[in-house]
């Protein structure tokens, strides 16, 4: 008996070693491209193009961040403008989305609505997310052209609010459904109106859900490229993704500036994603899987 036990133990240790070894290798595969992006932004061009690749910059340089000509953080570079534009567009579209979407989500989660028999309405809302953006983009471009909104942040706010709404509605619906109805019912028995019960009781309870949803929406908006490229064409209006794409054509071989810009653009997202890990599943799957 004891022999069998030690045999099993040895097997378990072997299995664990194999498992952690594989996971270590996978993490390396996941993190290496990011590491490579960051160190390339600190390398001199001569080092990058020299025959031997170095896994750590031998001449550490901040040229691509601070240099007045090549640095992305210098006032000559449009990068900070892109960053600022991305912040404005992400912030306001997320705010609109959350306000409008939470109301709809609350309605879908709490009321019996004839239109929503068998979740039909919810699915209609979901199909808007499934629509490939490229199908909408050409008419959207022509419509914005007619409205004179091409190359304005208004165009981006309208488009992003619309396209992130289904996501916000589905995610918030899942959060609202987790709260027992008895809570607001008892508040209503105490004489509060439904809206007052919503503000006083429900909203504080879905607080974490609201935060998670808004962070996701911000990330989605922050990363969006196709709409931004079609609808914005001057450097002072561009958000980060089309801005960085412009860098590719402008500085074809200036990998230092390009990776510096990419690094700075990625930092907020990586930080944000750390805070929403727990709610990730609900967000990415539109509440289809309990997270």
């Amino acid at each position: 008996m004891p022999q069998a036990k030690t045999g099993m133990k040895a097997r378990r240790i072997r299995e664990d070693a194999l498992r952690y070894g594989m996971l270590f290798f996978i993490c390396l595969v996941v993190l290496f491209p990011l590491y490579w992006m960051v160190i390339t932004s600190f390398k001199t061009q001569r080092e990058l193009f020299s025959g031997t690749q170095t896994f750590f910059p031998s001449n550490f340089t901040l040229t691509y961040y601070l240099d007045p000509l090549e640095g992305v953080l210098s006032t000559n570079s449009p990068f900070l403008g892109f960053f600022f534009n991305s912040m404005i567009v992400s912030f306001f579209s997320t705010m609109f989305c959350l306000i409008i979407g939470s109301l709809a989500a609350y309605s879908l989660a709490r009321f019996e609505i004839k239109l929503n028999k068998n979740d039909r309405l919810s699915f209609f809302i979901l199909t808007a997310r499934m629509l490939p953006p490229i199908v909408i983009i050409v008419p959207m471009y022509l419509i914005m052209q007619q409205l004179g909104l091409l190359n304005t942040h208004w165009a981006m706010l309208i488009v992003y609010t619309g396209f992130n709404l289904p996501f916000v509605v589905w995610m918030m619906k899942a959060f609202f459904q987790e709260i027992p109805t008895e809570l607001e019912e008892s508040a209503m028995v105490d004489g509060d109106s439904r809206m007052k019960a919503f503000y006083k009781i429900i909203l504080p309870l879905v607080g974490p859900g609201l935060v998670a949803t808004s962070i996701f929406t911000i990330i989605l908006t922050w990363n969006e490229f196709l709409f931004a490229m079609f609808l914005l064409n001057s450097a002072d209006m561009m958000t980060l993704p089309p801005g960085i794409a412009n860098f590719i054509t402008q500085y074809e071989t200036n990998w230092g500036s390009l990776t510096a810009a990419a690094t700075l653009a990625v930092i907020p997202v990586v930080i944000f994603s750390f805070f929403v890990q727990k709610h990730l599943v609900k967000g990415m799957t539109l509440g289809a899987v309990k997270g």
Partner: protein, 315 residues
């Protein structure tokens, strides 16, 4: 849903009375509709209206300046159907989608099984494993373009340093196609992983104990218990990934611009090119409609699949 929980609470008669009152209140009140109105109207304006508008555009003739110059009938559709580039793109897109989704599903499930154990190390590992999907696909494209560069890319450097020949990854039809697939797998396996993991963590424990008592092997448990129980969740991952892969654009834009030749010209990129470079909005919208039909058909099939497993499977 509210209906069930209302029914659950109706134990005493007073509660019953109150709930009846509430129910009537819910039915008569227009509040739920007012709450839905902004969302529905925005979605209608931003999806149905542009769709209708693009049907109109798809029947128009456009000159080289991108101005509509008159009715063109179904000629745009005929142009699309008879264009070899369209069928080429559709084929590439479908092949690409099938390839990446299959690989991502298998890898994602395997990864989820590896980290499903609950401990501190695993929770950090999980965070690392999901980072790729949070990044902008554009940035990911740039980083891989740097790493896969034929002359100074790190991948070729590693290959040559262990004695293998250097590969012109993005300059060769087959390797360019495989490269964009590789980038997709790197970025989106985490999505499948995450969904599978969530499914794994919510599985009931009883069947596992029974199987363990029966002395089932690990492989048997995986094949006969885990995968069947996980099927509905895996279909969710399948649907989401398929939809996203069909519309993939950013990586191709950064990495290959559809080239070399037309080897990686996925459908979104072809239509982008038709619309933006050649101002042929009629051709682009007509082509996009046909893509939309394909997408809708595929998603209907998959949603049917999903509904069926939801009814039979006990998720």
């Amino acid at each position: 849903m509210s209906k069930e929980s209302l029914a659950d609470t109706s134990t005493s008669s007073s509660v019953q009375l109150r709930n009846n009152k509430n129910k009537r209140f819910f039915k008569k009140n227009l509040l739920p509709y007012w709450l839905l109105l902004p969302t529905i109207s925005i979605l209608a304006v931003l999806t149905i209206f542009p769709l209708a508008y693009s049907i109109y555009v798809s029947f128009q003739r456009f000159n080289t300046f991108g101005e509509a110059v008159g009715f063109h009938g179904v000629n745009n559709y005929a142009d699309v159907i008879s264009s070899i580039t369209f069928w080429n793109s559709l084929g590439i897109t479908l092949l690409y989608t099938a390839g990446v989704v299959a690989v991502e599903m298998v890898l994602g499930l395997a990864l989820a099984l590896m980290v499903s154990k609950e401990n501190k190390v695993m929770s950090y590992l999980r965070w690392i494993l999901i980072i790729p999907m949070m990044l902008s696909p554009l940035v990911v494209g740039i980083v891989f373009r740097l790493m896969l560069n034929a002359d100074f890319g790190i991948v070729n450097y590693m290959l040559t340093s262990i004695g293998l020949p250097a590969v012109d990854f993005l300059g060769n039809s087959l390797t360019a196609f495989l490269s964009i697939m590789l980038v997709d797998v790197w970025q989106w396996t985490p999505m499948c992983f995450l969904i599978a993991l969530a499914g794994l963590q919510s599985l009931p424990q009883d069947p596992y104990e029974a199987a363990r008592l029966d002395g089932a092997s690990k492989w048997q448990i995986l094949r006969d218990i885990t995968i069947p129980l996980l099927k509905p969740v895996l279909i969710v991952a399948l649907v989401i990934r398929t939809m996203d892969a069909l519309r993939m654009f950013d990586q191709v834009f950064v990495l290959t611009q559809g080239g070399p030749g037309r080897a990686t010209e996925v459908i979104s990129f072809l239509m982008y090119r038709a619309a933006m470079r050649f101002s042929d909005f009629g051709f682009a919208t007509a082509g996009l409609f046909m893509v939309l039909v394909v997408t809708i058909l595929l998603s209907l099939i998959m949603i049917k699949l999903l509904n069926r497993t939801e009814k039979t499977g006990g998720y």
